[in-house]
Amino acid sequence: MMTFIDSIQQAIQYDFILKALLVGSLIAISASVLGLFLVLKKYSMIGDGLAHVSFATVAIALWLSASPLVVSIPIVILASFFILKLSEKASMHGDAAISLVSSFSIAMAVLIASVAKGFNVDLMSYLFGSILVISNFDVAISAALSLVVIVTVMFFYHDLFAVTFDEEYAQAVGMNTKFYNYLLAVLTSITIALGIRIVGTMLISSLIVFPTVTALQVSRGFRMTILIATVISVVCVVLGVFLSFAYNLPTGAVIVLMNAIAFALAFLIKALRR
């Protein structure tokens, strides 16, 4: 235990660790405030789908030697609209729409990577995330956009709640439910595009789903669920960053592992309460 505390003290000497803690926590908060709406609307998988789109856009950005974030965010937002449109048309269910877009994106990423040889290593760092290469520019954009996501959810909290609870009722009392669905899609896209830098394409959707499902085990109210999810998520990210530094493990994977442990604990608490 002593060695772990030592390595924490050692870790916070490093710039990149501080950046990872800051960006990681902000993304954890954004992902978990969105998570409850997405999980309850049965859109858990949208995070996964959009992460794959982000991966493709990173390939494009690296190919064009542009900043991945700048290229990713608009394209991922468009992809999320596309998924909503596909599932609005009754001919396709939401999960089918997501898997179409998702596998198409991966295919594009692989094709681009093989055509434009030479950046495979960089691309791989986006697959599983890396905290070593976060630029100051990334930190600034990530911090600003996560704040936008968090504040927007706070402003529209009541509407998003009503639309999630019963879309038809919300529409009947005059709410523009379509607008809120697209708003959620935009906010999710931003969060995903920011998040793959740290936890990686394969694992980012766990930041959306895990804390929410964990909180659902122990909470009753809606607001309380979001609050618990946020706290759990931030604790997991912070622990994950330190543990991965101390034991030289991949950060994204450790964060997900922490989330899994938190879920197991919450599940246990729920079972014992009965």
Partner: protein
């Protein structure tokens, strides 16, 4: 008052509203439906329906499955747009916070949904708010008031998914009422309730209608029993078959033709013997043996109709019924050979 504020909302125009609603006052029209036709794709589910709703009305909208009653209600709420015809609302009624809506399904299918009763009821106040929406302490006081009025104050902190069907229905009624609406629209509110809870629920509605002067539109397939609660009947079968008071219904020769004398007598609840038996047996159902031949199928169209055998639907008319344009005269004869005649 020559300048009513025009609210354009899915073919909705505003009417001049006479005056604030109080029971016993001069009756003002708060909703007028002119020649409403509703379509899903090519299928016409309701043809040329016209009627007026006056302040203080308590109208049962009834008819068999597939008669267009739920579609009509959705159109009134602006959820679907009529393909022709229009609804005119008294100006301040169309403003959404003056319409309370109680949907049919009890909870959004998800017992895990983490929402406390207080949070759900507070939702009813959102339509009157502007961005950024914020619920004040005063709003929550309103929520608690309506909860205690409906005698569910003790449930305020409970998770909605853990409540019984009757309790959930009352919570949703509280949500519909918390903004003090002038018009309350309910879709099959009692279909999931047991008889005792149902009586109780109708008692609350009666009080709202008579003491608070709330206008109520209640969609139901249970024509056999809602006559004892509502004041007027709007009978739909893909068009308006009858609209008026139960007294008119009882004395209408056309309705005798349409329903047969026995059914007409039972549906209109104007008779002492029925009133008494209703008190003794609140879930009175009219068990008319009938074969409900569906003219939709007779037309060769395909719509999903499920037939319930003993819900007191009318027997098919012997003669060409009054005011039913879309009815195929041959329906009773050709009938339905296969799957739809499930009796």
């Amino acid at each position: 008052m020559n300048n009513p504020d025009i609210v354009n909302h899915n073919n909705v125009q505003s009417l001049n509203a006479e005056q604030p609603l109080k029971s016993g006052h001069l009756k003002s029209i708060i909703l007028r439906a002119d020649n409403i036709t509703l379509k899903y794709g090519r299928h016409e589910v309701l043809t040329d329906a016209s009627f007026t709703v006056e302040a203080g009305d308590y109208i049962g909208i009834v008819g068999p499955n597939g008669s267009g009653k739920t579609s009509l209600m959705k159109a009134m709420l602006g959820l679907i747009t009529p393909s022709s015809g229009k609804f005119s609302y008294a100006g301040e009624v169309r403003d959404n916070r003056f319409i309370g809506y109680l949907p049919q399904k009890v909870i959004s299918g998800d017992p895990l949904f983490p929402a406390k009763v207080r949070e759900v009821v507070a939702m009813g106040l959102l339509s009157s708010k502007r961005f950024p929406k914020h619920l004040s302490l005063e709003d929550y006081k309103k929520v608690d008031e309506i909860l205690s009025r409906l005698k569910i104050g003790n449930l305020a902190e409970k998770k909605i998914g853990n409540l019984s069907g009757g309790q959930q229905q009352r919570v949703l009624l509280a949500r519909a009422l918390v903004s003090s609406p002038r018009l309350l629209i309910l879709d099959e509110p009692t279909s999931a309730l047991d008889p005792k809870v149902r009586e109780n629920f109708y008692g609350i509605l009666k009080e709202l209608n008579e003491q608070d002067g709330v206008t109520i539109l209640l969609v139901s397939h249970d024509i056999g029993s809602i006559g004892q609660y509502t004041k007027k009947m709007l009978y739909l079968d893909r068009t308006v078959v009858f609209f008026g008071t139960y007294e008119d219904f009882c004395h209408s020769q056309d309705m005798t033709h349409y329903f047969g004398p026995l059914s007409q007598h039972k549906f209109c609840w104007q008779h002492d013997d029925l009133q008494e038996s209703a008190e003794a047996k609140p879930t009175f159902h009219f068990h008319a043996p009938h074969i409900h031949v569906d003219h939709v199928h007779a037309h060769g169209q395909s719509m999903d109709h499920s037939h319930e055998s003993d819900e007191g639907y009318p027997e098919d008319p012997q003669a060409e019924p009054w005011n039913v344009a879309s009815k195929a005269p041959s329906a009773t004869k050709t009938g339905s050979s296969d799957k739809e005649a499930r009796l």
